[in-house]
């Protein structure tokens, strides 16, 4: 259980003179469900995008099984195939059907045969409850359905770690439920997940590690019981009270 997958050392990122992330340190072990919480603009999404190399960190290391992926000349595509990502805005390929969305990566990147890829994709589409809609185009299905397809697409690549960038923020309350249910199932099956979220209930009940970020630094981290039940820092307490009130 304790095999380390990701280790982040002194990660910083600035856009121009604006420092978004400062000296971030944390580790992700196999089977961990880590929730990153914090106010908007505190750098949560940037951290996730740095981990997937969609943003290049200004300094610091991201160790993936001990190999620094943030170094010069690192080949990102094979690494990204192992680290799945689910976006706030779904980012399904608009020119493909639901099924093709889930197959494309397997065939083009993992070089699987079409039939094999289809079987694999169908397994995950079934799992997220989207199997009846395989012939639909993304523009024809609802937001919650799109997000479930996006999760299936990421899962079909057999990633070691799945990054979720506010997966439910663009959805209405009813659809949030269906997406969270899928994520909860995954967590129970032992998928390693890193979730940026505003769903405090999810962070508290599903994850086993909570990171609270404030102004580009990790303010507090620990088990959900610690962070939610007995927050040490004043900022964390303020943040959590604000959330309870709303």
């Amino acid at each position: 259980m304790d095999e380390m997958i990701l280790k982040i050392n002194h990660l910083s990122k600035s856009f121009g003179s604006h420092e978004v992330l400062r000296d971030i340190d944390f580790t992700v072990n196999k089977g961990d469900v880590t929730s990153i919480i914090g106010a908007s603009g505190s750098g949560k999404s940037t951290l996730l995008r740095c981990i997937n190399l969609l943003e290049i960190p200004t300094s610091g290391e991201i160790l993936y099984h001990g190999e620094n992926v943030a170094k010069r000349g690192f080949k990102a595509p094979p690494y990204r195939a192992k680290v799945g990502m689910v976006f706030q805005s779904f980012n399904l390929f608009n020119n493909m059907t639901v099924l093709e969305n889930c197959i494309a990566g397997q065939v083009k990147v993992l070089k699987k045969s079409k039939t094999e890829a289809k079987e694999h994709a169908m397994y995950y589409l079934e799992k997220v409850g989207m199997a009846p809609y395989i012939n639909a185009k993304p523009r024809q299905i609802s937001g919650g359905q799109k997000q479930r397809v996006a999760i299936a697409r990421a899962l079909a690549m057999d990633p070691e770690v799945l990054l979720f960038d506010e997966p439910t923020s663009a959805l209405d309350p009813e659809m949030v439920g269906e997406v969270l249910a899928v994520m909860q199932d995954l967590a129970q099956e032992g998928m390693t997940m890193l979730v940026v979220t505003h769903e405090m209930a999810f962070a508290r009940d599903v994850s086993n590690h909570v990171v609270y970020m404030n102004d580009g630094v990790i303010c507090e981290e620990g088990t959900p019981a610690d962070v939610f039940g007995n927050p040490q820092k004043q900022e964390t307490r303020d943040f959590l009270t604000r959330f309870r009130n709303t």
Partner: protein
């Protein structure tokens, strides 16, 4: 009225004599325009892909220099060929090559030269259109593709270009129609396309206007057919606006197939009751009001 009868007679007599020549001209024009538009599009796509390869400061120095050079060369190509008249490009290339190489290198046929000039010219225009098409695609699509491990080339060919192509299809149509008309300048290097036929026929028969009338009709029919075919292609690319549910259990009710408690299904007795003239009128009025309030419902393209 007599003048029109005379024009008709002149056209018929011209056509009787030179129909073969005219048709040959049409064939030369159409084949050159279609071929060059296709090749030009390929050049444009290639430039578009090369032009948008991203580089970050994490890449090594050679890659960065190479990519910078590609972009600069591309820029020069586009500016030069977009900024000079095609008629001049044809002359410069056709007569310039032998001039500079002391007649060692020359085009074996005018067709080949015309083909090169028009293709390269179209490519310059298409390069910019493709760039615009690529920019118009939501960056989220690129990120989605990158996130599952696709390389730039895979992202482009599988995700971005199919979508960008749909967006630039009207532009491709534009270029095809422009090419059908503008290949006429290739008569300057002696290529016998449609317009060159007019010059030679009018030169021998002095029937300038009747011949020009034939040309007008000819060009207009070519462009009309071209735009009609392109519309068809666009429609085909948009695909079906509906999809089939794949349900293992065919009796499962899915959203939209439930029967409304008041209306019933469209096949039972109750629905007839509902569709009395008065009710229909009321329904239509309500829909009008809704439309006024919220705007017309937008269907799929």
């Amino acid at each position: 009225m007599n003048i029109f009868v005379k024009l008709g007679q002149d056209i018929v007599s011209l056509w009787k004599e030179y129909a073969g020549l005219y048709l040959n001209g049409v064939w030369n024009t159409v084949s050159l325009a279609v071929l060059c538009t296709a090749v030009g599009c390929l050049i444009g796509l290639l430039c578009g892909i090369l032009n948008t390869i991203p580089y970050t400061k994490n890449d090594n120095i050679f890659k960065r220099i190479l990519l910078r050079t590609i972009r600069i060369v591309n820029q020069i190509y586009v500016e030069v060929f977009r900024g000079t008249p095609m008629i001049l490009q044809a002359v410069v290339i056709y007569y310039g090559l032998p001039y500079f190489t002391n007649y060692a290198v020359r085009f074996s046929s005018v067709w080949l030269c015309a083909f090169v000039v028009v293709s390269v010219n179209t490519g310059a225009y298409m390069a910019e259109s493709v760039r615009g098409g690529i920019i118009s695609i939501d960056p989220g699509q690129t990120e989605g593709a990158k996130a599952i491990g696709m390389t730039h080339w895979q992202t482009m060919t599988n995700v971005i270009l199919p979508q960008a192509l749909r967006n630039i299809l009207p532009q491709i149509g534009n270029n095809l129609i422009i090419n059908i008309k503008d290949t006429s300048v290739m008569s300057i290097i002696g290529f016998t396309e449609f317009f060159a036929i007019h010059k030679s026929v009018a030169g021998t028969t002095y029937q300038y206007f009747p011949s020009a009338a034939i040309e007008m009709v000819g060009y207009l029919s070519m462009t009309l057919i071209a735009s009609f075919l392109l519309r068809l292609w666009e429609k085909k690319m948009d695909g079906a606006s509906n999809y089939e549910l794949v349900q293992v259990d065919s009796l499962t009710m899915t959203a939209g197939t439930y029967s409304h408690p008041d209306k019933g299904s469209p096949f039972d007795e109750k629905s007839k009751e509902f569709h009395t003239a008065k009710e229909l009128k009321r329904e239509r009025r309500e829909r009008k009001l809704q439309e006024l309030k919220y705007g017309r419902p937008k269907g799929d393209r």
